[in-house]
């Protein structure tokens, strides 16, 4: 018994599946338009929020206030974010230490964990010498 998706929703998932990075709603919208899909920006937002609620998609808010989305179970990454220039360097960590070591905390809180975000802030090499 699988959930049925609309054509638009299917296209969004399809695009996210072929993507190895997080993406903003706006960029997702542009990509969909490039693929000649007739879709509105609001629908993209609605779809991503819906998927997020379904636990299909993860959301992360950048320091710039944009929301980035990715399929849960796609490449899991954390970032080094430079406070000064804003540069964001990817730290891929397939075997993330978070998931496994904190299970007791979640069960103590009776919290059903879907995903987490872990971001590091500081100065990149360049900005340390200014």
């Amino acid at each position: 018994m699988s959930i049925k998706y609309t054509k638009n929703q299917q296209k969004v998932i399809e695009l996210l599946e072929n993507l190895d990075t997080e993406i903003t709603a706006q960029n997702l919208y542009i990509r969909l338009k490039e693929n000649h899909l007739k879709i509105g920006l609001a629908t993209v937002y609605r779809t991503l929020k819906y998927f997020h609620l379904q636990g299909i998609v993860q959301e992360r808010v950048t320091p710039q206030g944009e929301s980035l989305y990715r399929l849960i179970n796609k490449v899991h990454s954390h970032h080094l974010n430079c406070i000064n220039c804003g540069q964001s360097t990817i730290l891929i960590q397939e075997n993330c230490l978070i998931d496994h070591s904190l299970n007791k905390i979640f069960s103590d809180h009776k919290f059903k964990l879907y995903y987490h975000t872990l971001e590091f802030f500081g100065l990149c090499e360049n900005c340390q010498n200014c």
Copy 2:
């Protein structure tokens, strides 16, 4: 040789020091007004951004898109954020496992770490039964 702060900036730091939680720019503004300080909202934003750049203050963007600020070295907390109802439960972790175990990664990237944010997303007890 210490940095000099303006009266407004001093008041902001003072307020943050007497605070054991993160706070939004808007709430900080309200608090300052309550303390009869003549200050504009824009100045609060400017001050917090400035402090963030100075490495005095940490910024975390909530799932709702608000920025929360706190003095670095004040109580360090992570949160359990419910995807459904939005409830955010504090997980205090004084001895956070992140800082110590990943030092090699930062030095490999020649990244000067100031702080990090770690947030958990899923369903709270209530929303699991809906």
